[in-house]
């Protein structure tokens, strides 16, 4: 018996929420970034589930693109983080508050 679409959607939502929670509460920038990737993964899961249940494969192809973009984004983001570390000697987000009023 295939799990229903609802199950996949709820799973995806839960994964997304966990990822968001990580973004909210973690101090290490890299861990925050990883949680961002978690959220992306949840989104891809939902996309594939919906496309399957609509009887098509276009969702898969879209996931391709998402994966590519995620990879590029991670590369650039990590480069930024490394540059930031060189400048500020820290990657804890609550120490990076130069925009404070």
């Amino acid at each position: 018996m295939t799990p229903s679409l609802n199950a996949y959607v709820i799973l995806s939502a839960a994964l997304f929420a966990i990822g968001f929670l990580g973004v909210l509460i973690r101090r290490n920038t890299l861990v925050i970034y990883m949680c961002l990737e978690l959220m992306l993964g949840a989104a891809t899961l939902a996309l594939v589930a919906f496309s399957r249940f609509n009887g098509t494969e276009d969702g898969d192809i879209f996931v391709f693109f998402i994966l590519t973009v995620a990879a590029a984004e991670v590369a650039v983001g990590l480069a930024i983080i490394v540059a930031l570390f060189r400048l500020r000697q820290t990657i804890q987000v609550d120490e990076l508050d130069s925009l404070k009023r």
């Binding site: 018996m1 295939t2 799990p3 229903s4 679409l5 609802n6 199950a7 996949y8 959607v9 709820i10 799973l11 939502a13 839960a14 929420a17 966990i18 990822g19 929670l21 990580g22 909210l24 509460i25 973690r26 290490n28 890299l30 861990v31 990883m34 990737e37 978690l38 993964g41 891809t44 899961l45 594939v48 589930a49 399957r52 249940f53 009887g55 098509t56 494969e57 898969d60 192809i61 996931v63 391709f64 693109f65 994966l67 590519t68 973009v69 995620a70 990879a71 984004e73 991670v74 590369a75 650039v76 990590l78 480069a79 930024i80 983080i81 490394v82 540059a83 060189r86 990657i91 804890q92």
Partner: protein, 169 residues
């Protein structure tokens, strides 16, 4: 059978996701992320998106998480609290969570998602079909992604240069 697999895979995914979020060590977090990706790949297989599952493992797990690990070990930050709570943020979080749960509830109770419709029979992940689609229907996004990757590469090179003094060139 399929539902049991589904339950196990989703449990694995969620548990590892929590491990990433709540683990103190960044390296442990990266490891958990890998396992989480494995779970998602399993779910993809269950949805009969075989190619996608492997691509996920290869690209995401093999490249992205590896990169993460490299950088974590490069930067090698130790110590400090993993997380902290502020009162206002806790309240905000609880309220937002409540709203989200309400939304989810509505989705399940009143949502018009189709009742279990099995995935279409002839649908499988045929590589030729993907390739055909990529180079005809989705030609434009493909090219644009190419540009994107080029620019990302250039951006990374620029960003990771050290600033040198004009004196010693």
């Amino acid at each position: 059978m399929e539902s049991i697999a589904f339950v196990i895979l989703s449990a694995l995914t969620l548990a590892c996701a929590l491990g990433v979020v709540l683990g103190k060590n960044a390296v442990n977090g990266a490891m958990c992320m890998l396992l989480c990706l494995a779970g998602i790949a399993g779910l993809f297989v269950q949805l009969r998106a075989f190619l996608l599952a492997f691509v996920l493992i290869l690209v995401y797990g093999g490249a992205v998480v590896m990169l993460f690990l490299f950088i974590v070990m490069l930067l090698d930050m130790q110590g400090g609290q993993p997380w902290r709570f502020r009162r206002a943020q806790v309240v905000g979080t609880l309220v937002s969570a409540a709203l989200l749960i309400c939304g989810l509830n509505l989705l399940t109770v009143r949502g018009r998602l189709p009742s279990p419709v099995p995935p279409a029979a002839g649908v499988g992940s045929s590589l030729s079909y993907y390739a055909y689609q990529l180079f005809t229907t989705y030609m434009l996004p493909t090219q644009v992604i190419g540009f994107l990757l080029l620019i990302a590469m250039l951006g990374v090179i620029v960003l990771s240069r050290r600033h040198r003094d004009p004196a010693d060139s």
